[in-house]
């Protein structure tokens, strides 16, 4: 049963990871939209309806996660306020999470329950 109209925006440079997240969230009833890097994500946000939550990878090219956060903060208030969850394989994830206004941090490989928990919390 679909939970909400607003999709979850998945931003990751690995296509398999994007698919896995999409499939996982789909079987829980969420709609997802995919973006390959920060720039694609920005383009999506500026042109399409706002997503409920963004799952953001850290290392991407041409625009990385932190670069995306910097650009996002420059958007209008409602857009800048979209909750963003940092998803990264990097062990220093917790440190990195502090520099930007992430609402949560998930380490890869993802704990499924934790992921679903957070998405449920923020998608309203």
């Amino acid at each position: 049963m679909p939970r909400t109209d607003r999709p979850v925006l998945v931003v990751d440079d690995d296509p398999d990871m994007r698919e896995a997240l999409k499939d996982t969230l789909a079987s829980e009833g969420y709609r997802t939209e995919l973006a390959g890097d920060g720039q694609e994500a920005l383009d999506y946000i500026r042109s399409k309806p706002m997503p409920s939550v963004i799952l953001l990878d850290w290392n991407m090219a041409p625009m990385s996660g932190p670069q995306f956060m910097v650009e996002l903060a420059k958007e209008r208030a409602t857009v800048a306020a979209i909750p963003v969850v940092l998803v990264t394989a990097d062990a220093k994830g917790a440190e990195k999470a502090q520099c930007h206004p992430f609402v949560a941090f998930l380490a890869k490989p993802l704990d499924l329950d934790a992921l679903l928990d957070i998405v449920a919390r923020y998608s309203v």
């Binding site: 690995d14 990871m17 896995a20 996982t24 079987s27 394989a89 890869k108 490989p109």
Partner: protein, 721 residues
């Protein structure tokens, strides 16, 4: 055009002086022979003439010849006879001088027994024989002495000249070459004592009236003891001086009718004295010569011993792990300079095949070394001449005397400038090679003309260069080894990272599917997915190990301790192994304290416990596994016991190393990194891990952790048996 230069004037002046001296001495010496008419002898100073030739060279021959001529012309001998005898006198001096220089290598000082031998036989005996024979023959043939007189005349002449040479030459030579009279007080004291004894004894012997019963100290042979003392302690100078002093006393005594050498005629008495002094002189000179030889041998032995010591030290210093090429080269230059001298320059081959670079320079002379270092080291030099020869033929080059026209050892302007200030008289160059390449050229330079390099010194240089070559090779290997390890660790990091991404996606799909079928009545899919998940998790663990290894090896293992209750963590990890435990039919039992609090890195300790449990499962052969947690002396102690295949002692020592497994590769999978990582984490936390095991009966792994730890202490894990 005749130019009168300084040198010619010098020679003329010297000859004039010699002439004057000769005549004066001859005339004063003739006082002795005037009283005896059985021989017409003039006191031609044979000894001084020979000493003159030895010290001043053949250039004084004209002066000597003229002097002899003047002396003999003023006697009643006829002119042709005078000419012949004068020639004989001159010949005597020349022959003696020649014999000393050419035959025994006399170089201005009586430093060897050989020199003494040369003085005694060829100089004192042979050349005087020539002169005496010529002289007496001429006089007899000229009718100035009768045939019956000629035998005793000849004898007297010969012995007189012989004594003159034996006594005068060493005394004059020894004292003329004295540089300074400085010596330690004890030595001065001894010399004074010797002098007093000599004078006293000479007086006692020679100045007494010729009574038939002499007491002990009036026997002339007592003087032998004094002469030997002088020879033993004061070398040729002492021996010659003592003999000369005694001779003077003796001459006086014979002339005045005192002492033990008074005979019926003056000539006989003189002969007796001369015989005595002659024997004494020979004895003491020989002893002195032998002592000189001995002292020289001892000095050389000391030098050799010192050189060997330095070479041994060189080996040691090169053998110690010096990894830096520059240091090795500087050390080599220093050693070469110290052991052989005078200066050492090392040139290295460069990328440009026609050029070399001056890599190091050292010199015994501080000032030379510092000056040259600044403008020589780092400069480029051409690869030609000596260096080309050494590098292409890989042979040693010895240049005992440097030819100004030939190519210099270092072909550069800077070096040419250097040689202008510090001329190079002798050089030797050897290749500097390692096992795989030719590094460059090591060359030694000598800045004085008196000591050309010898084969011995070439051998020493060759030896030092070989040792340096070994050290350079080791340094290179060490560098390559370090670089290889860095590359390996970097690769591990990259590999681990690359593997993580698809792994994350894979695990997510599996877990997601597990959620989808969780309510499915048929267990098939669920079971299969569970197995897939387990494989995936194992792969995740292995990948993490790869990343851990590269991190730890790179020194990047940083712990993030937090308040942690170990019992709870243990139960959590054990729960994760529940499936594996069931699958292996290896029940796990946790005992001990249920709550152990401390300050540790949760993720890392999780890894440690997982590793230990995973090992227990893997090698447990399906037997039960016991896990014990308790505290001891404030430390947390975790013990994991299995009853499986065990580990033999040889492996117990090595098992905590990287890539080491105690079992065959094919049997139980894994990288063999688990225990190494475990050990590193435990040690970094300030703890220790030990293993006790008996093959076939199982193993006990014991981890001891302090509750809190600030700095890491590194201990070696050991097998306790």
């Amino acid at each position: 055009m005749m130019t009168i230069d300084r040198k010619s004037l010098n020679i003329v002046a010297t000859n004039a002086m010699v002439l004057a001296l000769y005549v004066a001495l001859a005339k004063s010496g003739s006082v002795l022979s005037a009283t005896d008419t059985s021989a017409v002898l003039d006191g031609a100073p044979a000894g001084l003439a020979m000493a003159g030739i030895l010290l001043l060279g053949y250039r004084i021959v004209p002066g000597l010849g003229l002097g002899a001529l003047v002396v003999w012309a003023s006697t009643r001998a006829s002119t042709p006879v005078a000419l012949v005898i004068a020639a004989g006198d001159t010949l005597e001096a020349v022959l003696g001088g020649w014999a000393m220089r050419r035959l025994v290598g006399f170089d201005g000082a009586f430093g060897r027994l050989r020199h003494v031998g040369g003085l005694i036989v060829p100089a004192a005996m042979m050349s005087t024989l020539v002169c005496a024979t010529i002289g007496v023959a001429s006089l007899t043939l000229g009718g100035f002495i009768s045939a019956e007189q000629s035998w005793s005349a000849w004898q007297a002449w010969w012995v007189r000249d012989m004594l003159d040479v034996l006594v005068t030459v060493p005394v004059v030579v020894a004292w003329v070459s004295v540089r300074s009279l400085k010596c330690p007080a004890s030595r001065a004291l001894e010399a004074t004592l010797l002098g007093c004894v000599l004078l006293g004894e000479s007086a006692t012997i020679f100045l007494r009236a010729p009574v038939p019963h002499a007491h002990l100290f009036q026997h002339p042979y007592v003087l032998f003891l004094v002469f030997i003392w002088a020879a033993l302690r004061f070398d040729v100078r002492g021996a010659a001086t003592a003999t000369a002093v005694a001779f003077v006393f003796g001459l006086y005594s014979v002339a005045h009718g005192t002492g033990p050498f008074v005979r019926e005629s003056l000539a006989e008495g003189l002969l007796a004295l001369q015989t005595f002094i002659g024997c004494a002189a020979v004895t003491s000179l020989v002893v002195a010569g032998a002592m000189s030889d001995r002292a020289r041998a001892i000095r050389e032995a000391h030098d050799q011993a010192r050189k060997l010591q330095v070479l041994a030290a060189a080996s040691t210093s090169f053998a110690q792990a010096i990894h830096e090429t520059g240091t090795i080269l500087r050390e080599l230059a220093r050693l070469c300079t110290e052991v052989v001298g005078d200066s050492c320059v090392i040139q290295l081959a460069s990328d440009d095949p026609a050029e070399l670079t001056v890599a190091a320079f050292d010199s015994r002379n501080r000032a030379v070394g510092e000056a040259a270092e600044t403008f020589l080291v780092g400069q480029h030099a051409l690869r030609t001449g000596v260096t080309e020869r050494v590098l292409t033929t890989l042979s040693d080059v010895l240049i005992p005397v440097v030819d100004a026209q030939a190519a210099p050892v270092v072909s550069s302007r800077a070096f040419a400038e250097f040689t202008r200030q510090c001329p190079v008289y002798s050089a030797v160059a050897v290749p500097l090679e390692t096992a795989t390449e030719v590094f460059g050229v090591v060359a030694l330079l000598r800045h004085s003309a008196r000591k050309p390099y010898t084969d011995n010194e070439l051998t020493v240089l060759r030896d030092l260069a070989d040792r340096a070559g070994l050290a350079l090779y080791n340094a290179k290997l060490y560098d390559e080894l370090r670089a290889a390890v860095v590359v390996r660790d970097e690769f591990l990091a990259i590999a681990g990272h690359e593997l993580k991404t698809p792994l994350a996606a894979l695990l997510m799909q599996i877990q997601s599917l597990q959620r989808v079928v969780r309510n499915d009545p048929s267990p098939t899919v669920r079971d299969r997915l569970a197995k897939a998940a387990r494989s995936g998790l194992r792969m995740e663990r292995l990948t993490n190990q790869l990343l851990d290894v590269s991190r730890i090896a790179g020194g990047k293992l940083t712990l993030e301790p937090e308040r942690l209750e170990l019992g709870e963590l243990l139960r959590e990890v054990a729960a994760r192994f529940a499936d594996a435990s069931a699958a292996a039919h290896s029940p796990m039992a946790i005992k001990g304290e249920t709550e152990v609090n401390g300050y540790w890195d949760r993720m890392r300790l999780d890894e440690v416990i997982s590793n230990l449990l995973s090992n227990a499962m893997k090698y447990g052969q399906g037997k039960p596994v016991e896990i014990d947690l308790h505290t001891e002396n404030g430390d947390a102690v975790l013990q994991v016991t299995d009853h499986g295949i065990g580990i033999d002692e040889a492996h117990q020592r090595k098992m905590f190393q990287k890539f080491e497994r105690a079992v065959a590769v094919r049997e139980f999978g894994g990288f063999g990194l688990g225990l190494w990582i475990t050990r590193k984490i435990v040690e970094e936390s300030g703890g220790r891990i030990v293993v006790q095991s008996t093959p076939g009966q199982g193993s006990v792994f014991t981890v001891r952790l302090p509750r809190e730890h600030q700095h890491s202490t590194h201990g070696e894990p050991h097998a306790a048996n």
